[in-house]
């Protein structure tokens, strides 16, 4: 976690409004290369909106987003994928009628060069290229331990597996930064443990910078390097997990501690 001169991702004074509703108000933060960074906050705090501003789904009404020092605010989502921003969705967003393998191969889209003509003829290097990328995809499949379902139709899988396939698909994009929107929502303890392990490995072994939204405080505080807290679209805290856990304002806003109450002991898992 050596902080380089310019951070990998920098969000500067980003505001987002839908008509009269202000989803985000002047949010500032940066993510360094190699960090595992978490965004937490109560429901409706604007966490997913923040991620959407970074991945290009929403255009901020004010403020700028910089990636590798480059202003990406005006770029479309598909352009951002090609420069190295990958993401997963909070609600499952797999291609339901495709096989798991094809789903992950879609992630290679911007890295593949064959087009409708060469691909249609399956010639002029198209086959060779497809197979080379298949090899890369198999590495991801091995890593996430989904080899047994690689030929299954994505729409027929269980919730936990679908989340894992979605992670695989985002990894296939070979992003420099990967945005995970509640990767552990709705999972049981065992699945959560698996997922936490994958995310840590993703960060440490695959060298991807991770930005994660998650509600499970135990996981967030255990594996994150740095955490920010959003409330009503404003950033109310930014720091190391321990600092966040002891921040009075965070406790009031998010962890649900009354002002006059003694903080519950052992909140850190």
């Amino acid at each position: 976690m050596t902080s380089t001169a310019s951070p990998l991702l920098e969000v500067r004074d980003v505001s987002l409004g839908f008509g009269g509703v202000r989803a985000l108000t002047e949010v500032n933060f940066h993510v360094n290369k190699g960090e595992l960074f978490s965004i937490i906050g109560p429901n409706g705090a604007g966490k997913t909106s923040m991620l959407n501003c970074v991945s290009g789904r929403y255009k901020p009404t004010a403020g700028r987003v910089f990636f590798e020092g480059r202003d990406v605010t005006g770029m479309t989502p598909n352009q951002r994928a090609t420069i190295g921003i990958g993401r997963t969705f909070q609600n499952l967003a797999l291609f339901g009628h495709m096989s798991v393998l094809d789903n992950i191969m879609v992630g290679r889209h911007h890295l593949l060069k064959n087009n409708f003509a060469t691909g249609g003829l399956y010639w002029a290097g198209a086959q060779k290229e497809e197979l080379a990328h298949r090899r890369k995809v198999e590495d991801i499949i091995d890593f996430l331990e989904i080899a047994h379902i690689r030929k299954s139709t994505a729409g027929t899988l269980s919730y936990g597996l679908r989340k894992r396939v979605e992670l695989a698909r985002a990894m296939a994009v070979e992003p420099k930064i990967i945005l995970l929107d509640e990767p552990m929502a709705g999972m049981n303890l065992e699945e959560k443990e698996d997922m936490a392990r994958y995310i840590v490995d993703l960060n440490e072994e695959w060298g991807m910078t991770v930005v994660m939204i998650e509600h499970d405080m135990g996981v967030v505080m255990d594996i994150s390097h740095r955490v920010i807290v959003l409330e009503f679209g404003r950033k109310i805290a930014d720091g190391l997990p321990d600092e966040i856990m002891s921040n009075e304002r965070v406790k009031v806003a998010y962890l649900g501690v009354e002002d006059d109450e003694e903080p519950a002991a052992g909140a850190v898992a």
Binding site: S55, G56, R57, T76, P77, N78, A81, T82, G86, R87, F89, A93, L94, F95, G96, H97, M98, S99, D102, M105, V106, G107, R108, H109, H110, L112, K113, N114, N115, F116, T118, G119, G120, L121, Y122, A126, Q127, E130, L131, R134, R135, E138, K151, T153, R169, V173
Partner: protein, 357 residues
């Protein structure tokens, strides 16, 4: 893909290349080759009536596959497919009559012209979806129909255009027997391309756009580009099918390419199976044979009752029309996945017989 559970046991793929073949097993590939060889031999056995039916299935099937790429793969509706089909027919005749381009070349060139037309009409599709797109393509159908009727220089206007027979290296391929091979060649080529598309980058992108366009975009797929591209590709197929149709009949008239034909194309892919290459061929076969079967049925009724079926014979045209509509409705209710799904069920039934699991 979905049928992977039906692969016979003992099939172990030892390389990625073997895992991405078009046919799952060597036996299936052998059957496909046998099928094509049987078709090559067909003109020696079948009479001209059956050959003409096969030719019809061929050029309609090519156009229907184009529509399936658009509707089945990419999830974009089109009610204007007959317009593009007609444009291909006129364009090929025009290229041949006005510039002396040999018919064998004029047909694919006409398909390329239709592609550009499709790209043009596809531009609104980059932004529209569902019902709105249906209306936009509906408009393209009428614009093209009107164009055929007015553009004397291109289509011969209301009098239509003559389309010369196919001539290759001095051989006249105008008869049913000769033309059958021309159509067969293009059917094999175009269906192979359609299948290959599904196992390469752009075909996957089409399906991704259909299944979840938001996450397709995050995967780096340019939605507008792929929606328009799908229109272009579908028009290529339509144009080629139309060109084959024109040169087979020898005459192209503006009246043939109505909205009814567009709906017939939609019927073919719904009955066959949306998003399935094999299903397209099944659905086209069904739609081409259905009126013939109806006619045969009336013929049988005639002999049974002894010629006294005047109303039945008079109403034959309406019966043919109604049966198409009825078939589409019945398939939507009872087999929305189309004939191809039914075929899979039958295949698995025989494979597991006498045990149902």
């Amino acid at each position: 893909m979905i049928t992977s559970s039906l692969i016979p046991c003992g099939q172990f793929k030892t390389s990625y290349a073997k895992d991405t073949t078009i046919f799952d097993t060597p036996v299936m590939r052998a059957w496909a080759v046998v099928g094509v060889l049987a078709l090559i031999a067909a003109p020696m056995i079948l009479n001209n009536y059956y050959l003409s039916l096969l030719i019809q299935i061929g050029f309609m099937g090519i156009a229907a596959l184009g529509l399936n790429i658009l509707v089945g793969y990419t999830g974009q509706i089109s009610l204007g497919h007959a317009g593009f089909f007609g444009f291909g027919a006129f364009a090929s005749a025009w290229l041949n009559n006005s510039f002396g381009v040999p018919v064998v070349l004029a047909m694919p060139l006409a398909a390329v012209m239709t592609t550009f037309l499709g790209l043009l009409f596809g531009i609104p599709a980059g932004r529209l979806k569902g019902l709105y797109l249906a209306i936009a393509t509906f408009a393209s159908q009428f614009i093209l129909e009107d164009f055929f009727a007015r553009a004397d220089w291109f289509s011969g206007g209301s009098s239509g255009a003559a389309a010369n027979p196919v001539n290759l290296f001095g051989y006249d391929l105008s008869g049913d027997k000769g033309f059958f091979y021309v159509v067969l060649f293009w059917v094999v080529v175009m269906f192979l391309i359609g299948t290959n598309l599904l196992r390469s980058r752009d075909g996957r992108a089409f399906i991704a756009v259909r299944d979840h366009y938001l996450s397709a975009e995050v995967m780096g797929i340019n939605l507008t580009k792929y929606r328009i591209l799908s229109f272009g590709l579908s028009s290529f197929y339509a144009g080629l099918g139309g060109a084959l149709y024109g040169h087979y009949l020898g005459f192209v008239s503006a009246e043939g390419f109505t909205i009814l034909m567009s709906i017939e194309f939609l019927g073919m892919i719904i009955i066959g199976g949306l998003g399935s290459v094999a299903g397209t061929l099944m659905g086209t076969t069904f739609m081409v044979l259905l009126p013939e079967v109806m006619e045969g049925g009336v013929g049988i009724a005639k002999t049974l009752v002894g010629g006294n079926v005047g109303w039945l014979a008079e109403g034959l045209a309406s019966i043919k029309q109604a049966s198409i509509g009825l078939a589409i409705i019945l398939f939507l209710i009872f087999e929305p996945d189309g004939l191809v799904h039914r075929w899979r069920l039958i295949r698995s039934y025989w494979k597991f017989y006498p045990f149902s699991y």
